[in-house]
């Protein structure tokens, strides 16, 4: 086992990078759930859609076109889903919602297959972010640092909006007690619509960011869904702190598990999930006490 500090710094950055990717996905999902108790299992498919849109746009207008337009396109898809399906499903209980959004996973999966084919796509890292930089005596890919920075920037922006603005206060009130918030004159339904769109856009952004790092395949949404659900269960539903804490825990356990105990790597995170569910069933930082 190599023990030089550079090795561990490299692994810590790897862990951070994975955490930030998961954070972008889980924050949308967790706030949607926290605010409206709506389980959107198709969230992973929106991430895959974001990656495909980014890959398609990148071949036409370069990486940054995809980076900026993929979230918009996925938010558009979110509006379609909201007005077509989700608004009608609001009162139908969690089981029906889970089934409908689970079905959506397969519908969207086949849709991406029909449009973009079965062969995996990929996009190149933009030249601005290509290459590596020396940091703490190690060489690290710039693009991965960009993902880490982007994750923290989004976290800071969301924290600011949720803590310091009026709409943030309304969202927090809605998560805490939606009936009371509605009585106080907050249009909770419209709030939900906005949060849903922002959540979808963030999923699309995560897809666009992940595309140059991973391969773009139809089942990438399914592969990311379980880690995302683990993150929000560990972190606690509905809270920003929960999403970031869950993401960091997942990223570090996954990465250092793979380094220190490769045979246990895939079990560790599930063991942790089970432990959290036993000790703190509401997660580490639930929105409601």
């Amino acid at each position: 086992m190599p023990l030089d500090p550079g090795f561990w710094a490299l692994q810590a950055l790897n862990a951070l990078q994975l955490s930030m990717l998961l954070f972008l996905l889980s924050i949308g999902l967790t706030v949607i759930f926290g605010l409206m108790h709506f389980v959107n299992l198709a969230h992973g498919s929106l991430y895959a859609l974001g990656a495909y849109v980014a890959a398609a746009l990148a071949t036409v207008g370069g990486y940054w076109t995809g980076f900026f337009l993929a979230p918009v396109a996925v938010a558009g898809m979110g509006i379609l889903l909201y007005s077509g399906l989700i608004r009608r499903m609001r009162k139908s209980g969690p089981m029906a919602q889970v089934l409908v959004t689970f079905g959506l996973i397969f519908a969207l999966l086949d849709l991406t297959r029909i449009i973009w084919g079965d062969i995996a796509l990929a996009i190149e890292v933009p030249s601005l972010l290509a290459g590596r930089v020396s940091l703490f005596g190690i060489d690290y890919p710039v693009y991965r640092l960009f993902i880490i920075a982007l994750g923290f920037a989004i976290f800071a922006a969301l924290a600011l909006v949720l803590k310091r603005t009026q709409i943030g206060a309304m969202i927090r009130a809605g998560v805490d007690n939606d009936a009371m918030a509605a009585c106080l004159g907050i249009n909770v339904e419209r709030l939900f619509f906005i949060v849903f769109c922002v959540g979808c856009a963030l999923a699309g952004l995560a897809g666009a960011v992940a595309a140059p790092l991973l391969s773009v395949t139809p089942d990438m949404g399914l592969q990311i869904l379980i880690p995302t659900l683990i993150v929000i269960v560990i972190g606690g539903l509905g809270s920003l702190q929960g999403a970031i804490a869950g993401s960091l825990i997942f990223g570090f356990v996954q990465t250092f598990g793979a380094v220190l105990a490769p045979q246990l790597a895939s079990v560790l995170i599930y063991a942790l999930l089970a432990a959290v569910l036993v000790i703190r069933p509401m997660g580490l930082f639930p929105a409601k006490g």
Partner: protein
């Protein structure tokens, strides 16, 4: 009522009559949906192409019945049953995943229906689980990797770190490489198996490989994982100091262009690349491109040769299940991959293995063949079966 009886009579006579012009019913078992759909499309296109090009050489005609296995063993088993019992096919071909092959193996063996395997590479299928009715025209996991051990030692590489997904194929590919590599004097300085289809980030493993003191890294990855792996390997800048070698599926022509410049300089071994220099391959590549607009992959040639094997078998006069199975075990011909034959001791294909480097070409990435390693028959691996009857 009367028409029903007439129809039944007609049906009965149709059954009892010898099929005119020897129409052979071929069941194609491929995962048209699911993660291997792209592979299925190439295998099917290759299969059809061979029937179009070589079908006239035999008096038999072929009727194709397609069934989707969905890469699910229980579904595949039900579809195979349907083909055997209801459609009464004379021969079956296809099978992409080894799990599906394992699921249908006993049915095929028990029913005595010849099956031409067009992809699935698990060593047991032509080892301990071998059957006189299962003939493999694709490859075995060991076969593709075994020649790379001595070859890399010859190139002066004696310390290697290996990586592969943690499932049967990953382990067989790496184990067979490890065996010949260490036998030739090489040393494995580190070995990791990554959670199969659960690993998005290979960073942790790449850092370990870098710190291991190896001269090179040898890996097996395929499909989406291969693309992610090759790109991440390059993004960490490992390629310069730690050259990347592996099983040729890593840089398959099917998806190498998605890997982009990251794949340049990667050296791998495979039973087929589109740039093999022989007249059969030149003709095959031209015909396949004309038919599909794509460069043929190893999957396409596997489908192509599976149909060629069937045609060769029918040229001996074989028409029913038993005679076809027997004839398939003795097939040999010149194909795009070079000289192919079936080893009747295991029913696995004997074929040369090509070491190739992925390089930048005119219209994207292409393959430069570095060496053609001689064809050797797989070891028996516990296979015992009746010799071919003449």
């Amino acid at each position: 009522m009367k028409t029903t009886i007439l129809a039944a009579l007609g049906f009965a006579t149709a059954l009892s009559m010898p099929a005119s012009a020897e129409e052979i019913k071929v069941g194609l078992l491929l995962p048209y949906s699911g993660v291997y759909a792209a592979l299925s499309n190439d295998i099917e296109a290759g299969f059809e192409l061979a029937l179009e090009e070589y079908g006239a050489e035999t008096e038999a005609t072929f009727a194709l019945l397609r069934e989707d296995t969905e890469v699910k063993p229980p579904v595949a088993l039900a579809k195979a049953k349907k083909l055997i019992l209801q459609d009464k096919v004379d021969v079956m071909a296809g099978i992409v995943s080894s799990g599906v092959l394992g699921a249908v193996r006993d049915l095929v063996h028990g029913a005595g229906v010849p099956l031409i395997v067009a992809n699935a590479g698990n060593d047991e299928a032509t080892g301990a689980q071998c059957s006189p009715f299962i003939t493999r025209m694709s490859f075995s996991n060991g076969q593709v990797n075994r020649p790379m051990g001595p070859w890399m030692v010859e190139q002066g590489i004696t310390k290697v770190f290996t990586l592969a997904p943690d499932y049967a194929a990953g382990r067989q590919m790496i184990d067979s490489f490890t065996e010949t590599f260490t036998a030739a004097g090489g040393e494995i300085v580190g070995q990791e198996f990554t959670p199969f289809q659960k690993t998005q980030d290979f960073g942790p493993f790449l850092a370990k490989a870098k710190a291991s003191g190896a001269q090179a890294v040898y890996v097996f990855y395929a499909g989406g994982e291969a693309i992610s792996f090759v790109k991440q390997y390059d993004s960490f800048g490992l390629k310069a100091d730690l050259p990347l070698y592996g099983s040729g599926f890593l840089t398959s022509s099917l998806y190498v262009n998605a890997e982009g410049p990251a794949a340049e300089g990667v050296i791998t071994a495979l039973h087929y690349v589109p740039t093999i220099d022989n007249p059969e391959n030149a003709a095959f590549v031209t015909a396949f491109e004309a038919k599909t607009g794509r460069i043929p992959s190893e999957y396409a040639v596997q489908g192509f040769d599976a149909a060629r094997a069937l045609i060769e078998a029918t040229k001996t006069g074989a028409t029913d299940r038993e005679s076809l199975a027997n004839a398939l075990r003795q097939v040999h011909f010149e194909g795009p991959r070079g000289t192919l034959s079936i080893d009747p001791a295991t029913n696995n294909i004997v074929q040369p293995i090509y070491v190739y480097e992925t390089i930048a070409g005119e219209g994207g990435l292409t393959q430069k063949v570095l060496a053609e390693l001689p064809a050797t028959a797989d070891p028996l691996n516990g296979c015992t079966m009746a010799p071919v009857s003449n």
